[in-house]
């Protein structure tokens, strides 16, 4: 029973982080929220007796993907509303 409650708690936390990542306009916070999703997913994989997948998810999903997104944000724009037109984004990315 405790196992089921823990699973539901983690899944609820994951869905909450996913919704936060969509709603948040500051892309840096959104990326951190996706990192949190990966972290909880890795815990879930471990609870479901797939430690191999949990290790991969922890290393790739939490650390590497998040940092590559952060570097991308540093090189482009941080806020979603900063550039309205497509041309502005193009000139910012170049």
């Amino acid at each position: 029973m405790a196992f089921v409650i823990l699973m539901f708690f983690l899944i609820a936390l994951m869905i909450g982080a996913a919704i936060y990542a969509i709603v948040q306009k500051d892309l840096l916070y959104a990326v951190i929220a996706t990192g949190v999703i990966s972290l909880i997913l890795s815990a879930l994989f471990f609870l479901l007796q797939a430690p191999d997948v949990a290790l991969t998810e922890a290393a790739i999903g939490v650390a590497l993907t998040t940092i590559i997104f952060i570097i991308t944000i540093r090189n482009t724009v941080r806020n979603e509303d900063e550039f309205k037109d497509k041309d502005d984004i193009k000139s910012a990315v170049k």
Partner: protein
């Protein structure tokens, strides 16, 4: 007009997907008596490997792993090719933010431990959870930590590409050696040893160490390339 075409294509794809999934259902009883018993039995009795997942990934489905490693290699190469012209000159790198001395000494302390953990994970791939891919990713995380903490920390691209090609070539050579001994690609041809020993499982630990080195070199090179991209 574009939207109509896209919807049409999606409808056709969906139709065929539904049909093929309907067909899958018919083979239900066959799947139950499929290869899983064969794998579970052979893993312990013939290969003397404690971790069944490892024996499937490296031995029974070793060719798939070769394809997977190739995909990663191609992705890293393509990224390096795209960003090649925009790289900084040697030594110069824009930092995300200057790190404090606490971060610097902390990551210096953690770096060897992370590398050790990664090496442990891929050397013990046939005994405990984990393996080449996981260990390589963990090692790349350690290098990422150092690259973020120290703005003058650099890894040699020549060493990385040497490790990568060395591991890739020996992976294929070990596979071909299995063929030359009269078996299939990646067939085991070395003594298997005792179950639960570090030196057991024939060529499986060797292949996994090679995969671990290759993945670590590829991911480290990937991060290094991205971090060295010029601003505008």
């Amino acid at each position: 007009m574009k939207k109509v075409i896209v919807l049409l294509l999606l409808a056709v794809t969906g139709y065929y997907l539904v049909i093929s999934f309907m067909d899958l259902g018919k083979y239900g009883p066959v799947v139950e008596t499929g290869v899983k018993d064969f794998y579970l039995e052979k893993t312990v009795s013939e290969l003397h490997v404690a971790n069944t997942i490892t024996s499937i990934i490296v031995s029974f489905r070793g060719f798939d792993t070769l394809g997977e490693v190739t995909v990663l290699f191609l992705a890293a190469t393509a990224l390096g090719g795209i960003l090649y012209k925009r790289r900084h000159d040697v030594g110069g790198r824009s930092v995300l933010f200057p790190s404090s001395s606490i971060v610097k000494s902390g990551s210096k302390l953690l770096f060897p431990a992370i590398i050790l953990l990664g090496a442990y994970v891929f050397i013990h791939g046939h005994l405990s959870p984990g393996g080449g891919f996981q260990g390589g990713a963990i090692i790349a995380t350690g290098f990422l930590l150092m690259l973020l903490a120290y703005d003058n920390f650099s890894v040699s691209h020549n060493v990385l590409s040497f490790i990568e090609s060395f591991a890739g070539i020996f992976f294929v050579l070990f596979g071909l050696a299995g063929m030359m001994m009269g078996g299939t690609f990646l067939e085991n041809f070395m003594p298997v040893g005792k179950l639960n020993d570090l030196f057991s499982g024939g060529i499986i630990p060797i292949i996994y160490i090679l995969v671990g080195l290759k993945v670590a070199a590829e991911l480290t090179g990937l991060i290094y390339t991205v971090l060295h991209e010029k601003e505008n």
